[in-house]
């Protein structure tokens, strides 16, 4: 039959079913017509009316029978009996609460959590970005493992070079974020993030403005009050969404600008936090591989694949010296320069990829366990129903009817489970698993869409149908022969079948163990993170951040003078005991651009190099932060203006540069610093971390910021390779943060009222944040591991209980010939333990094989921790023993007389 004919037939079935009252009436009318016709025919042949009627009925041969057969032929029977079966199914399921509850709980927990996590993974990882033809958008990154640069951004040189020569990428745009934008009109200066970008970025992303117009190439020629665009959020917040926004003036870092237009809501390139967009032009006369700050986005030319674009870029990278001959050939080689093309989406989620991969694996494992549970429960039930089914078969039920019955039952329970899973999924998505937007990009776009809900219910139905069919095949594998009635679970023939069941449960226990182990490792990693000495004393500490505009603070002297004046103003605040300032705060994200390479030579003349994290700190920084001085001293006046300026090293950096030598008085050389390449170590302090504790201690080199230079000094160049224009000020005070906040603002405003103050936080909060990411992964894994263990225990319980119940005759015989109830219980229990033991061994192997996924996520802990393995095995064993205990006891309490009579 062709598909179309099949469809037509199905439609007719449906129509006839919907109008079955009318169809039935017509059938009755037709039969009545037939009988009347026959009767009058008989009358014509000389019968009396009564006789004629009787003869007509007789000739017809059973009106009711043919009416039913006709109805059958129409296919009503399947739909009618479907309703009947559903009703019967409900009744039967109520009589088997253990089975029904087992399946419903399994699917509600399993599908609910899997769907919640799945929606998260889909929303963040798999869903297309909200740009036209988003799968054609690519990000190009640059890698130079041989250089002292850790960023994967482009230099102006590589961007210009690719823009000029690449044909596989139709358009290339560059952008660069700048956090230090202050909106200086209005009463309170507001600090926002800005982005400089080439105007073609909007063309690449095919953006449509919410108001006004997009930036254009010719905007780059504007001299004064040049155009900028603002974000939708800023438009709403600062201008109340005023429709006449285009053409309004805005003062940014004390420069007047004109608002050309507003970006649409949800526009999040280069990141969600950008509020001001400046047009920018990128020019380059050299490759500048160590000066990289441009984020590059492009649109693939029509018909070009990522692989083709990658191949072209590889060729271009190899020949970059054609364009920039000034790039030394040896640097070109030793830098290991390479370009990498990936879709914009991959680029955006790269930072959370390990977590998401783990989540995806967890979903897989959880679903597998849930399905295995439903399989175990359904098949065991089918096994028990074999006798009943065999009786139905002997009494004339056909295979189709029986299959329908099992399928309907399967769908009823699995749909109930799926329906309960939906609120669990919605709740877990609403809770966002405790994640914040800052931790996971695109998180706020995650929802349970109707599509996901329908898929969830569809999966439930598929599971119910599958196991219905399998159960029917299992239960109905007896034929209609009465002899098959003897063939039931109580005989030895069930043994192979039980082995299969035990196999399923073994796999479940293995999966549960391996998930639990992962959760345990994460938990122990988290516990260690909590114990880590973050290297500073957060008690009674508070900080805020400022950013100086370039205009008015273009020299080191003026910038330093501002910073030192703020420190003096803060010292005068009542209740403040000490004040310090630093370019970078420990336990927060570290600026990637401040990572030069340094070199130190020890007393044996051995030279070592390493990448460092640079910081610029004031005299009292170590005191106010409670960072201990381990050797030498903290900064003192004179360290900055010394012929060889002084620096302080973190303990780990000191050890890496000078080995066991005393580092005090030794010199370090900084590759990128030209005028003052050499510094003298005056002290060694305790180690600190970045915001990611799992990455280990930072190798920090501290430069001094001291009031050494007399006011009016003509020296304009900095003696340190950094401009302290954006500083964090830290105070020690027992006063509450809310009391200190206005004091901070007042102190800064007393020096320069147009400098914004932001990120006012207690040091305690900073310390707590650092472990948040680890806490999240652990929490998620914990939820899944718990669900898995629960489901695995349900599975084991049902297998043991059913198997024990099915062997009641065997137990009865043994009890009758003298076995003690204890011995029977012990035997059942032993079998449960045996299954568990095999599962545990399998789980160990599984965990060992998948340890790589975890390695990136755990801290100072081996992903193959032996103690953790033992502990997890103990938990699993305990759970499964509880699951085994009551069936074992029940087996021991079998009443021989009843069990044997029951045959």
């Amino acid at each position: 039959m062709t598909g179309r004919a099949g469809l037509q037939r199905w439609l007719r079935h449906a129509r006839e079913f919907v109008f079955r009252q009318r169809v039935n009436n017509e059938m009755d009318e037709e039969i009545q017509f037939h009988l009347d016709q026959e009767a009058s025919f008989n009358v014509q042949r000389g019968m009396s009316p009564a006789e004629a009627h009787r003869a007509a009925m007789q000739a017809f041969g059973g009106v009711q029978r043919y009416r039913e057969e006709t109805r059958d032929a129409r296919g009503f029977v399947s739909l009618d009996s479907l309703i009947r079966d559903t009703r019967l199914g409900f009744r039967r399921l109520r009589r088997a609460p253990a089975y029904s509850l087992g399946v419903i709980v399994t699917l509600a927990v399993g599908l609910g959590i899997a769907t919640g996590i799945g929606a998260l993974v889909y929303g963040v990882m798999l869903r297309p970005l909200p740009y036209t033809d988003a799968d054609r958008l690519v990000r190009i990154s640059i890698h130079t493992p041989g250089l002292a640069v850790t960023t994967s951004e482009n230099s102006a040189g590589t961007f210009v070079y690719f823009s000029e020569r690449a044909h596989t990428v139709a358009l290339l745009g560059a952008s660069m974020e700048n956090e230090g934008i202050a909106i200086t009109d209005g009463t309170i200066p507001e600090r926002v993030t800005g982005a400089l970008l080439t105007p073609n970025v909007f063309q690449i992303l095919q953006t449509k403005p919410a108001a006004g117009r997009l930036l254009r190439e010719d905007d780059l020629n504007a001299r004064f009050d040049g155009p900028v665009m603002i974000s939708y959020a800023l438009w709403q917040r600062r201008y109340g969404g005023a429709p006449d926004i285009a053409g309004k003036r805005i003062e940014l870092n004390r420069n007047l600008r004109t608002i050309a237009g507003v970006l649409p809501a949800g526009f999040a390139y280069p990141s969600r936090s950008v509020a001001i967009y400046y047009p920018d032009r990128v020019e380059a006369s050299k490759a500048g591989l160590s000066n990289r700050y441009l984020t590059v986005v492009g649109r693939l030319a029509p018909g070009v694949s990522i692989a083709q674009a990658q191949a072209e870029l590889n060729g271009l990278v190899a020949n970059i010296r054609d364009r920039f001959p000034e790039l030394p050939a040896d640097i070109h080689v030793t830098s290991g320069l390479s370009a990498h093309v990936e879709t914009l989406r991959d680029g955006m989620i790269a930072q959370v990829r390990p977590e998401l991969q783990l989540l995806a694996l967890m979903i897989g494992a959880l679903l597998l366990i849930a399905v295995a549970n439903v399989a175990t429960l359904s098949l065991l039930r089918a096994q028990r129903l074999r006798t009943e089914v065999a009786i139905s078969r002997v009494l004339g039920a056909n295979r189709r009817t029986l299959t329908q019955r099992f399928v309907v039952e399967g769908i009823v329970v699995s749909l109930a489970g799926g329906a309960l899973a939906l609120p669990i999924a919605v709740f877990s998505v609403a809770s966002k698993f405790g994640l914040s937007d800052a931790q996971v990009p695109r998180l706020n776009e995650v929802t349970i869409t109707p599509g996901i809900a329908i898929t969830l219910l569809g999966v439930s139905i598929a599971i119910g149908t599958t196991f219905g069919v399998l159960s029917a095949a299992r239960a109905g594998s007896v034929n209609g022969n009465p002899a098959s009635l003897r063939l039931d679970t109580r005989t030895a023939r069930g043994r192979g079948w039980r082995r299969a069941q035990e196999g399923i449960v073994t796999v479940q226990i293995a999966l549960a163990l391996s998930l639990l182990l992962s959760a345990g490792l994460m938990a122990s990693s988290f516990a260690r993170l909590r114990q880590v000495d973050i290297g500073f004393d957060s008690a009674n500490g508070a900080k805020f951040t400022t950013q100086l505009p370039f205009l008015g603070y273009s020299t080191f002297q003026r910038t330093a003078a501002f910073d030192l004046s703020v420190i003096d103003a803060l010292r005068a605040v009542p209740g403040v005991t000490s004040v310090g300032a630093a370019m970078q705060m420990p336990s927060t994200p570290q600026d990637l651009y401040s990572r030069p390479r340094v070199e130190g030579t020890d007393s044996q003349g051995q030279t070592r190099q390493t990448l460092i994290t640079a910081n610029v700190v004031t005299q009292d920084f170590f005191k106010v932060m409670g960072i201990p001085v381990k050797a030498g001293r903290a900064f003192e006046r004179g360290d900055l203006i010394a012929i060889t300026p002084g620096v302080v090293l973190g303990a780990t950096l000191a050890r890496e540069l000078f080995g066991a030598d005393n580092p005090i008085g030794r010199e370090v050389r900084i590759e990128s610093s030209r005028r003052y390449p050499t510094y003298r170590v005056v002290g060694v302090v305790g180690d600190v971390y970045s915001d990611r504790l799992t990455e280990g201690v930072l190798r920090v080199l501290y430069f001094p910021l001291l009031g050494d230079l007399p006011p009016g000094s003509t020296e304009t160049e900095s003696r340190i390779p950094f401009m302290p224009g954006g500083m964090n000020f830290i105070v020690n005070s027992s006063r509450a943060l809310s009391e200190l906040t206005p004091e901070f603002r007042r102190a800064v405003a007393s020096i320069d009222s147009r400098v914004p103050v932001w990120s006012i936080r207690s040091l305690d909060a900073i310390a707590a944040d650092a472990s948040a990411r680890a806490r999240l992964s652990m929490l998620l894994l914990g939820v899944v591991a718990f669900a898995t263990l629960l489901l695995g225990s349900i599975g084991l319980y049902s297998v043991i209980a059913y198997a024990a119940a099915g062997r009641s005759r065997e137990f009865a015989v043994r009890l009758a010939i003298g076995a003690t109830p204890r011995a029977i219980a012990r035997q059942v229990f032993r079998e449960g333990v045996r299954v568990t033991a095999i599962g545990i061994v399998g789980g160990f192997l599984l965990s060992y094989a998948s340890a790589g996924v975890l390695r990136d996520l755990v801290f100072e802990i081996s992903a193959t921790e032996p103690l953790m393995y033992l502990g997890t095995a103990g938990v699993v064993l305990a759970c499964t023993m509880i699951a085994t205990f009551s069936p074992a006891r029940r087996a021991g309490n079998t009443d021989p007389a009843r069990a044997l009579h029951g045959e």
């Binding site: 007719r12 037709e30 057969e69 006709t70």
Partner: protein
């Protein structure tokens, strides 16, 4: 639901063919159809008259016959059946295989006698 197999079921395929053949001559209602089949077969087929109705429904569902309510000569509403083009094709196929079957039976039966 399983019913013992009857000779009616054995004759099922044959009944379908008889109905198609009869209807291909002229459209008619169910009662007329039973009588025409009996007439044409010299009363050889004396199955229950009702058995043509399930058969007609099955044929209708396979699009081999179509139905239409019409007024009969004596002024009553009756359901009239006629053969579709597909029905005609099916009938020709069935007839051919029927003839092959009969021929084969003849050969075998002729050989043993």
């Amino acid at each position: 639901m399983a019913r013992p197999e009857s000779n009616e079921q054995v004759l099922q395929g044959t009944l379908d063919l008889l109905i198609l053949k009869t209807l291909s001559l002229t459209p008619m209602h169910g009662w007329g159809l039973t009588h025409r089949i009996q007439e044409l077969s010299n009363d050889a087929f004396r199955v229950g008259q009702g058995s043509i109705y399930p058969a007609l429904v099955r044929l209708e569902q396979r699009d081999l016959v179509r139905t239409e309510w019409k007024i009969t000569d004596n002024g009553r509403r009756a359901k009239f059946y006629s053969v579709t083009a597909a029905g005609r094709r099916a009938m020709i196929d069935e007839l051919a295989s029927w003839k092959r079957f009969v021929g084969a039976m003849d050969l075998v039966l002729g050989a043993t006698s």
